[in-house]
Amino acid sequence: MRIAAVTALILLWVSRAVLAFEVEDHITYPAANEGSVLRIISTADREAFEPIIAAFQAQHPGVKVEYTITGTTSLMQAIAEEEAVFDLAISSAMDLQTKLANDGFAQNYDDAETDHLPEWASWRNQIFAFTQEPAVLVVSDAFFPDGDAPRSRDQLIALLRENPELFQGRIGTYDVRQSGFGYLMATQDSRNSESFWRLMEVMGRLDAKLYCCSGDMIRDVANGELALAYNVLGSYASSQQNGVDGFQIIEFEDYVNVMLRTALIPETSPNPEDASKFIDFLLVFGQNPDLVLASGLPAINPSVLHENTALRPIRFGPGLLVFLDKIRRDNFLKNWESSLFQE
């Protein structure tokens, strides 16, 4: 009886621990003269955000920042299901952030510094975008030495079809079942163009390798293991280009999906004042070129979109909820799997 009770307790504890969202890293940045604590949950790497937090603390020396890094799905889970206490949620998954706001887990911030921001960069005064990050094709110098890389999806499909022996097992893309970014890009592709499914079919026939993260894809492209990787996070690729040789970044000419990294203040935030200050800081951080360079995060900049008309920022709105629908997601993944895994 005692043993059973203890076992039950242990089981309960274990199940709670299992239920708790996955934390990849947790860093505390103490304040010069501590007055308040700002708890940020984020999907952005430590390297990217450390300079931003340092610059923020230089402006607001009284704020201690606790920075928790997790995945997009875990972040959603933490806020929506586990009522974890955070003041700011920063995520690259626009769809999940939209769902959080739509389902009432975000609070309004009506006085945000959105004057210089385009209208598409915020939603409901709850979600605020501060970066624009395109999904790009990364190609290996070993396979495309003279800049003859494909410039559109149709060209890519034709190239892969004509040279199956060359690309067999040498192309990579996101495993959309694991990666929120990959899923968002794939679903937007499927919405934008019919050629997406053809491309998946072709990739499936060539035994495409599936990845969890942009970093791994870039590594394998750079060392020549892969000829190309599709739908890689462009901002990450650009920041890698400084230190890693052997790959090129191609922005397609037909269209380029642009993901917006966003911040929202959870409904349960105990310190929305500092969270608001941090959002305002993020919304204008693009005016500081050194900071943009240090973080490797491209700030919102409508003029870039004017120069390259193929860039297409993903729009906020209820449309983003469609691919989060349980049945729709299952069906999409079923289609995707049947395209990529052809036995």
Binding site: D103, R124, G317, D325, I327, R328
Partner: protein
């Protein structure tokens, strides 16, 4: 007279009240219509979204499934940035969507969506539910598609419409009020014109009012004219009566005086002579009063249609002095004439002016002591002044302005017989010529100075 609230104010407040009422009505009508239109738009979009979802329902493997069409939710983002909720339920089981979304109280019939406004997750939402029969013939199933949206966008639109309607309503009211002010003024302009025409009249002007009269005021003006006509007739009759009476008294008086003088010569006893002398003096005073009454009636009569002939005031004064010299001689009074060398021209009624100067001079003689001087001077300045200065008793403390009233006499003249009409006549003559009578004390010693001031 009882004062009642001004017509203008009443008119203005009534018009402004009507404008306020209309503005308010306008505000509510505009807001009502616009909000209903906005609500209708939201309902239509919701219905379109639900239909798109229902259309994507399909039978699969004995069950029902759907691929949520992208447009079904994205179209809801076109109106505003509202939160959206949806649920697809088959045979009471939630297939997909928010399974806590409330079921409508009234179940929809095929082709007839049910709209509801209710609370969900702390917000007011508008929801539409429609029914789509599914399944094979053997295995029928009812699929309910519910799509709901918060109403923040609608509230924003409603606020904007309210602001706009308020602005337009307020603007309309301000404009209408300004116009009311103008209209009230403009409606009363004829009355003001008429009032002006009546108040501008002199105190003796009893002619009928001929100013332009609005039809509504015609009875009033006619009544006024008729009243003034009666008053004028009555005044004329009174003057006529006085003149007639004076005339009738004067002639027998002359006869009585002549008889009294004859009797005076015949009497021997001094006390009898004295009595007769008293009688003659009384008769003279009566004749003089009758003369003045005649003069007064004449002034009133001639003033109505003043004759303006070119005349020389010197001559008028000279002539009048000549006529009164004998009377003055009786009291050993000398009348000095202080006149300019040249003619003093004036446009007026010779007879009236003579009567005026005569009465002033006559007064002066009457109130001067025997063996004194009277000076009559004509001076040309801003006004032409005909001044008569005597060395008599002056006016003592009498209120000078009262002296020109009819039958009012000085406070210190109880011992002298007089009618009190003399200065009234002079003042009336001055007035009909556009001038005035000035009465003051003699600046050089005792006595009075009475001046007839005429415009040049």
């Amino acid at each position: 007279m009882k004062f009642h609230a001004s017509i203008r104010r009443r008119l203005f407040f009534q018009l402004a009240g009507v404008a306020a009422l209309l503005s308010l009505t306008f505000f509510f009508v505009v807001r009502g219509v616009a909000e209903r239109a906005a609500e209708g738009t939201q309902d239509q979009v919701l219905a379109a979204s639900a239909i798109a979802m229902a259309d994507s329902l399909r039978n699969e493997g004995g069950g029902v499934t759907l691929d949520l069409p992208y447009s079904s939710l994205s179209m809801l983002g076109t109106v505003g940035q509202d939160r959206v909720f949806y649920r697809v339920a088959v045979s009471g089981q939630t297939l997909t969507g928010y399974d806590d979304l409330p079921v409508p109280t009234a179940l929809p019939q095929p082709g007839e969506p049910v709209f509801e406004t209710l609370m969900f997750r702390g917000d007011e939402i508008r929801s539409v539910t429609l029914l789509r029969p599914m399944g094979s013939e053997a295995n029928r199933a009812q699929a309910f598609v519910t799509v709901a949206q918060t109403r923040e966008g609608l509230e924003t639109i409603s606020r904007r419409i309210t602001t706009l309607a308020t602005g337009i309503g307020a603007g309309f009211f301000v404009l209408a009020t300004a116009l009311s002010l103008w209209a009230a003024g403009s409606a009363l302009a004829p009355i003001n014109r008429l009032t002006g025409a009546v108040t501008r009249r002199g105190p003796k002007d009893l002619r009928p009012v001929t100013a332009e009269t609005p039809r509504e005021l015609l009875p009033l003006v006619e009544a006024l004219n008729s009243f003034m006509g009666r008053l004028r007739a009555s005044l004329l009759r009174t003057e006529d009566f006085i003149a007639e009476a004076a005339h009738r008294v004067r002639t027998p008086l002359a006869t009585v005086r002549a008889q009294a003088e004859v009797t005076h010569l015949k009497l021997r006893k001094p006390e009898h002579k004295q009595a007769i002398r008293e009688m003659i003096r009384a008769i003279d005073e009566s004749a003089r009063s009758a003369g003045q009454m005649l003069d007064h009636a004449m002034v009133t009569f001639r003033a109505d249609s003043l004759l303006r002939e070119e005349l020389d005031l010197n001559a008028v004064v000279e002539e009048t002095c000549d006529r009164l010299d004998p009377t003055a001689d009786l009291k050993d009074i000398v009348i000095h004439r202080d006149l300019p060398d040249h003619a003093v021209s004036f446009q007026g009624d010779r007879i009236l002016l003579q009567a005026a100067v005569m009465n002033i001079l006559d007064n002066a003689i009457k109130y001067s002591p025997a063996d004194s001087d009277i000076t009559v001077s004509v001076v040309e300045g801003a006004e032409t002044s005909i001044a008569v200065t005597d060395e008599g008793r002056g006016f003592a403390d009498t209120d000078l302005s009262r002296l020109v009233s009819r039958y009012k006499r000085g406070a210190n003249v109880g011992d002298v017989v007089g009618s009190g009409l003399g200065l009234t006549i002079a003042a009336d003559v001055a007035q009909v010529h556009g001038g005035r009578l000035s009465i003051s004390s003699n600046k050089e010693g005792p006595g009075a100075c009475v001046s007839l001031l005429l415009p040049r």
